[in-house]
């Protein structure tokens, strides 16, 4: 075949291209560069370079359908000497029974020594084979036959472990040049049985768009009103949580789409049977159901209901019924590299999905995510303890040590001084709390394990198979009692935990105009937030500017610059916010349950705390409102703050700006996504919710630059206390301690003042009583 010979030196182009970019930068950068560019693989032709079938059978399944992995693109990277990644794909019953091929298309760093580089594949906890990593020149597709007994219907887990060593450089730095990257497009489970989208579980196998996004298209016939969006929101969130994918893009249209993706059709009774017929869904049962889409790779989720209560009941039924398994194996499943911790808890690495493994390289890297409570106060009042259970082998250099990196910064190191090898059982290593942030934190345990032979690195003396270190899965994190106070703005807490919108707290989602792009962007953000919160959010969508003075938090999607003026001008009531069609909750309270209770049920189904939805302003809210207004006026007098200094400006070169601020009335929090046009909102949000960008959210303001599409975070100028849920003395004490650790000068002054006071008192007392003369 003419193709093969010209495709053979494929990967070099990638490498050469990458080297051209990185001459001035360090070696590490050189080697990592192609990885940073997510498109390094996607630019390559779709056909595999070398077909490496298992000799046994040239299976017909090879020409079948490829069910891609559910993870988004950045899970496909294995870097360092020994790395593990966990991937999942979903099968239906017949597919699992038929078996098939696991396609792993990969390319590896050129410095990976081909002699010893191996990839071990484990499917559903059982070994499924391994292969040599040897494709530095281009993408190569490895195919492993998976018999039916390895597979199961529903989600299947693939654990890949790559062990790779450097060809010529035995230094620690050189281990960063080692990587193997899977191509998300060509990798997956290849089966002869096509996916039939007939039930919820089958949705998990839905494909991605060419841009590598999972598309959900909200199909709502008729005008796009706040009512229609509020009806769709719970269904959409349930669907997103069920899919458990962090690359979901929501678009809005009045007709179904084409290509891979899901159409979420809101076939409400008010569109009439003719409307349902026009959508071709007259056969769909009432409630929530799944139908095949227009094309083979598209699915349709249909909601047929009469009113919001109907919808809530249908979603609840689905969540408790057909969706339950998927939710359990997906969003509610623990141990996929994430530790969700809370004050006073102890968690082992095993809970994060780590499996004890013997390490025989030079730099052992183990990383996992730690999800801290969203309202914890990171300061120097306590430490998180890492209880290290591990062992080192004899013969390590003096310089061997364990480093702990939190969010990219080295926070502590522990030297392995014992050259004879040592075992640690629950050795306490203190991690300062200040290194952590509310929301998701990336923790890396780096064991630097040089031996004497590494300096010379002679091939004949190398033995990469000799173990040097073992990290046990009983290694644990102990979280102390935390100071709990919600300090905002904090986009890290927003990105990681959807704070302050999670926990069933009702909030407003204000979209300033109801064009498809703005609405799509708003729903995309809502979906991403509910995924971060791992629960549906109690959002009330309104078209127009957010309403002040309700004490409710708001998420604002604004594509007009003059939004800020609208808020300042006191224009509160927008026509979109008032729904004349819905019954007055006060008058009809006795006969109809309010929609909030349904959300609460839904939340219950997600094992979350419920919150009482209170439309009326409570006394405390009124008091807070009054107090806030009073302080504001007072501060204004003192010229501490200007009247309109609240809004971070949406800068010139930014596509979209995400900023969090106190609402103008001062008692709620507004998060505003602002851009100059709906098109910008759409494009900016697409970029914002990309997993790598979303993870990088921090500070008080984040913007996506127009030119480079890169994320720029600005720290919050001033933080304010948004929430103090725990008012126990213990917590208050910790909050005060934390505050003093942040404001050390005041603490010193206070101490000095106390000392002074004591001295003064002493002086006074002594002068009056203390002097006694012996006669």
């Amino acid at each position: 075949m003419a193709n093969s010979h010209r495709l053979a030196p494929l990967g070099l182009a990638v490498l050469l291209a990458s080297t051209a970019l990185g001459h001035a930068e360090g070696l590490v950068v050189d080697a990592v560069k192609p990885l940073l560019e997510g498109s390094a693989l996607s630019g390559l032709p779709a056909q595999p370079v070398v077909e490496v079938g298992t000799e046994a059978e040239p299976s017909p399944a090879a020409a079948g359908h490829l069910i891609s992995f559910e993870q988004s693109a950045d899970a496909f990277m294995l870097s360092g000497e020994d790395d593990v990644t966990l991937l999942t794909f979903a099968l239906d019953g017949p597919q699992a029974a038929a078996g098939g091929m696991l396609n792993l298309a990969y390319i590896n760093a050129v410095s990976v020594l081909p002699d010893t580089a191996t990839m071990d594949v484990e499917v559903n906890g059982r070994a499924a084979g391994s292969f040599t990593i040897a494709s530095p020149n281009g993408v190569r597709v490895e195919k492993l036959a998976l018999p039916s007994d390895l597979l199961r219907a529903g989600r299947n887990e693939v654990r890949l472990r790559a062990r790779q060593y450097h060809r010529v450089d035995c230094s620690l730095d050189a281990t960063y040049e080692l990587w193997t990257k899977l191509d998300p497009v060509q990798s997956g489970f290849s089966t002869a049985q096509p996916s039939v989208f007939a039930d919820f579980d089958s949705l998990l196998a839905i494909g991605r768009t060419p841009a590598q996004r999972t598309q959900i298209r909200l199909v709502a016939p008729g005008a796009m009103t706040a009512e229609a969006l509020n009806e769709a929101a719970p269904v959409l969130q349930a669907l997103v949580l069920f899919l458990n994918r962090d690359d979901v893009t929501v678009t809005v249209s009045d007709r179904p789409g084409e290509g891979p993706g899901i159409d979420l059709v809101m076939a409400m009774d008010r569109i009439g049977s003719s409307g349902v017929d026009r959508l071709g869904l007259s056969g769909a049962p009432r409630g929530l159901s799944v139908q095949p889409g227009a094309t083979a790779d598209r699915a349709t989720v249909v909601m047929r209901a009469a009113d919001p209560m109907d919808i809530a009941a249908a979603v609840l039924a689905a969540v408790k019924g057909p969706m339950a398994d998927g939710l359990k194996s997906g969003i509610l499943q623990k141990g996929r590299g994430v530790l969700t911790v809370d004050a006073g808890e102890r968690h082992t690495l095993k809970e994060a999905g780590y499996e004890t493994r013997v390490f025989s390289g030079r730099l052992s890297r183990t990383d996992f995510a730690v999800e801290m409570p969203a309202d914890f106060y990171p300061a120097e009042y306590a430490t998180i303890d890492l209880r290290l259970s591990a062992a080192t082998s004899p013969g390590l250099e003096q310089t061997a040590q364990l480093l702990v990196r939190v969010n990219g910064k080295v926070v502590t190191s522990y030297p392995f001084r014992d050259r004879e090898g040592r075992q640690f059982e629950g050795k306490r290593i203190e991690l300062p709390l200040r290194a952590f942030q509310p929301g998701v934190n990336r923790v890396e345990l780096l064991a630097e394990l040089p031996v004497a032979a590494d300096a010379a690195c002679r091939p004949q003396e190398r033995d990469d198979s000799k173990p040097r270190f073992i990290l046990l899965d009983t290694t644990a994190m102990e979280v102390p009692a935390l100071a709990r106070v919600g300090r905002l703005p904090d986009l890290a807490a927003l990105g990681g935990k959807a704070y302050p919108y999670g926990g069933g707290k009702p909030f407003d989602l204000a979209i300033d105009r109801a064009d498809p792009q703005s609405v799509g962007a708003a729903l995309t953000v809502l979906s991403r937030l509910s995924l971060a919160a791992r629960a549906p959010l109690n959002a009330k969508i309104a078209i127009g500017a957010p309403v002040e003075g309700t004490g409710r938090d708001a998420l604002v999607i604004a594509s007009q610059q003059d939004f800020a003026e609208l808020g300042a001008a006191g224009k509160t009531a927008f026509p979109g916010t008032a729904d004349p069609g819905t019954p007055d909750p006060l008058v009809t309270a006795s006969v109809s349950r309010s929609a909030a209770d349904d959300t609460a049920d839904l939340l219950q189904a997600f094992q979350e705390t419920t919150a009482v939805h209170d439309d009326e302003l409570s006394f405390t809210t009124r008091a807070q409102l009054w107090l806030s207004a009073a302080t504001k006026r007072f501060r204004h007098w003192l010229r501490y703050e200007s009247a309109d200094g609240e809004h971070a400006p949406h800068g010139e070169g930014s596509l979209v700006t995400l900023s969090q601020m106190r609402s103008p009335d001062g008692i709620a929090t507004w998060t505003v996504i602002r851009a100059n046009s709906p098109r910008d909102v759409d494009a900016g949000v697409q970029r914002l919710v990309e997993p790598t960008v979303w993870r990088g959210l921090a500070g008080g303001t984040a913007s996506i630059e127009t030119a480079s599409l890169s994320l720029v975070s600005l720290p919050a100028a001033e933080r304010y206390v948004a929430d103090l849920a725990d008012r126990s003395p213990g917590n208050l004490r910790r909050v005060v301690a934390a505050w003093f650790s942040d404001n050390f000068q005041i603490y010193v002054l206070l101490v000095l003042a106390s000392l002074g006071a004591f001295a003064a008192w002493l002086g006074l007392t002594v002068r009056r009583k203390g002097v006694r003369t012996d006669r």
């Binding site: 495709l7 040897a134 173990p467």
Partner: protein, 672 residues
């Protein structure tokens, strides 16, 4: 206990399964990848280490000579091929540029370059073909050798292009190259057949027959050539039909074969072809049969026309009329034909009454063609059926278009019947001198002879603007209108007539005012426009010149006079007129453009090509040049011997829009 287990784990050396690295004689691409990478990175120590590693593994290993200059082997063309598959030539260019930037000596592989050139050629030719840019096709096919090309469809495209541009010699060469290949290069029979079928379009039947006789060596091909024979006959018949001068019929046996094929109904076009053939041979009965058969297959305007004509030729007027009535809608595209066909019903008194739609179609056709004769026919029809209002209107129309005594008479009669004495008197006044005889007859005129029931004749309400070489419509001159309207209403409404495009009435009104003595310059101006519209140029000129006297109307009058002079081809007078009286810039430009155009035209007619160019250049300085003038320019260049310029002009024209004339010009100017 646990300690022991851990120690065992750590000491065990089997933890890592070393993949058995088969000792081969030479390292493969995977082994060598890093060597090239380090060399490209100029990492000398790593290069050395890697070399020694490879030496240890492969004792005979020597560092490849091209390790520092991996140009040819290292550049990976797969991205190029991927782009090639997508026909993304721009992408390929950028990609090659990128590689070049890294490595200036590098060129894409021979295989890729040739294939790319071929693919480019095909894509360009197909695209040019699709937009009928024949020069583009020829240009793209420059590297094509018809006598050796294996992808025959490319040559066919080229042949189409040559044929469309009329490059006879090149066309012949292309055909020769395809048809007369020797030995194993000879094309498959199917392709030869298609080529021959194509050739029937471009060559006379004798020439094709000659080629066939040369080629038809194999009996298989002989049999296969049957359809080509038929095609040839078809072509001959079509040529015969199209050529008005040819009268000698084609050999009957050939036509008989075609007739037989047509009877079998293979191609409906044959029926129509034979119909026209028979019609031309004056055997209308047989033509009628063919056309009827063709129409049974499909309603088609041409065939219906043929049927109508064959029936008319058999003097079966009534049947013919029924056909015309049946195809009213189709024929409305050709109002001339429709008008003639329908006039039967109206022109003779012994006809049955016409249907409403027939009357409508007839009057529409008359209005569309501005045919005075038929307007008169319809007017008489209306008159004879007692519809005097309609008769008057149609007589007026026909008079507007063309004056004739019988029309004046008809109008006078209609007015008489309507009892419009004043108008009658005015009419008599106007035409007494011109047609003295009719007024005598008028006295003894009988009332309408025929009071049979007839369909109401429509009034000629909407007239399409009468086409003129000068594009401006005088009604659009707002300034004039404003000046006139103030007094126009009182002055017999000549302006209203003008606005309503009743130009004769307008002229009449103004003339009547003149007779009374006092006539304003405005009125004279309007009279001029009306005369101009009636194409009574001398009178128009007089009227305009009269209006020139007044300062207020001078500009408009000069404009009108210039247009009138231009219409009368008095180009120099027109130029004198506008140089004497200043016009507004827009009008000046318009008139000048027209002057230059006429100059160019007349210079071209007199073969003074340099003057053509001068005029055109002067014109191009004023307004954009339309395609037909560009063509004139091209030909002027051509005749001046400046072929390069001519070719450029035609090529540009050809790029914008396919036009056979331009293509011909291009072909001419391209051929040496």
């Amino acid at each position: 206990m646990r300690m022991l287990a851990l120690a065992a784990l750590l000491l065990g050396t089997t933890a890592l399964a070393v993949v058995a690295a088969e000792r081969k004689d030479a390292p493969d691409a995977v082994e060598l990848a890093a060597l090239y990478y380090y060399a490209a990175q100029k990492q000398q120590d790593r290069l050395g280490a890697e070399t020694s590693r490879l030496r240890q593994k492969y004792p005979d290993f020597v560092v490849p000579a091209d390790v520092y200059t991996p140009a040819a082997r290292q550049v990976d063309e797969s991205t190029l091929w991927a782009l090639y598959e997508k026909n993304d030539f721009i992408g390929i260019e950028t990609e090659i540029g990128r590689h070049r930037a890294d490595n200036p000596e590098w060129t894409p592989s021979e295989d890729f370059s040739t294939k790319l050139a071929r693919r480019k050629q095909r894509v360009e030719m197909t695209a040019a073909m699709a937009r009928k840019d024949w020069m583009g096709v020829i240009e793209a096919a420059k590297a094509l050798d018809p006598s050796r090309e294996t992808e025959v469809d490319l040559v066919w495209m080229l042949i189409d292009a040559y044929s469309a541009t009329g490059a006879k010699q090149a066309l012949t060469d292309a055909y020769r190259g395809l048809l007369f290949r020797e030995g194993d290069k000879r094309l498959p029979d199917a392709q030869i057949l298609t080529t021959l079928q194509k050739s029937t379009r471009d060559f006379s039947s004798e020439e094709v027959r000659k080629a066939v006789s040369l080629l038809a060596a194999s009996p298989l091909l002989q049999a296969a050539l049957q359809p080509v024979e038929l095609d040839l006959t078809r072509k001959e018949v079509a040529d015969f039909n199209a050529d008005e001068k040819r009268q000698t019929p084609i050999a009957e046996d050939e036509v008989a074969r075609l007739r037989a094929a047509a009877e079998k109904g293979e191609r409906p076009e044959d029926l129509s072809l034979l119909g026209w053939y028979d019609l031309k041979l004056k055997t209308p009965a047989s033509a009628e049969r063919w056309f009827k058969a063709a129409l049974a297959d499909r309603r088609e305007e041409e065939n219906a026309k043929g049927l109508y004509l064959s029936l008319a030729a058999q003097n079966r007027q009534e049947d013919a009329f029924i056909v015309a009535e049946d195809y009213l809608e189709e024929f409305s595209d050709d109002p001339e034909f429709l008008m003639n066909a329908l006039s039967l019903r109206f022109s003779r008194p012994d006809q049955p009454p016409a249907e409403v739609k027939t009357v409508t179609a007839y009057s529409n056709a008359i209005l569309a063609t501005a045919n005075a004769d038929h307007a008169e026919i319809l007017a008489w029809y209306a008159y004879n059926s007692g519809q005097y209002e309609a008769a008057k209107a149609w007589f007026l129309k026909s008079l507007d278009w063309e004056s004739a005594p019988v029309r004046v008479k008809g109008l006078a009669l209609s007015l008489m019947r309507l009892g419009e004495k004043a108008d009658y008197a005015a009419l008599e006044e106007e035409y007494r001198e011109a047609y003295p005889e009719i007024w005598a007859e008028m006295k003894i005129a009988a009332p309408a002879r025929d009071s049979r029931r007839a369909v109401a004749v429509e009034m000629p309400v909407v007239t399409r603007s009468v086409t003129s070489t000068v594009t401006s419509t005088p009604a659009a001159t707002a300034s004039t209108g404003a000046g006139v309207r103030s007094k126009g209403s009182g002055a017999g409404g000549y302006y209203a007539h003008f606005k309503a495009r009743r130009f004769s009435a307008c002229v009449k009104d103004v003339s009547a005012m003149e007779a009374r003595g006092a006539v304003s310059a405005d009125a004279m101006l309007i009279k001029g426009w009306c005369y101009l519209e009636l194409s009574r140029l001398a009178e128009a000129r007089n009227a305009f010149e009269a209006a020139l006297a007044n300062g207020r109307t001078r500009q408009d009058a000069a404009y009108g006079a210039a247009l009138t002079l231009l219409r009368g081809r008095l180009t120099d007078d027109a130029e004198a007129m506008i140089s004497m009286y200043r016009l507004s810039e827009k009008r000046d430009r318009e008139v000048r453009a027209e002057i230059y155009w006429q100059r160019a035209r007349s210079a071209f007619d007199h073969k003074q090509y340099q003057r053509v160019l001068d005029a055109l250049n002067a014109r191009a300085a004023l307004v954009a040049e339309p395609a037909d003038l560009s063509q004139l320019r091209g030909w002027a260049y051509y005749h001046l011997g400046n072929r390069g310029q001519a070719k450029a002009v035609f090529a540009r024209l050809n790029m914008h829009l396919y036009d056979p004339a331009a293509a011909r010009g291009l072909a001419q100017s391209s051929v040496r």
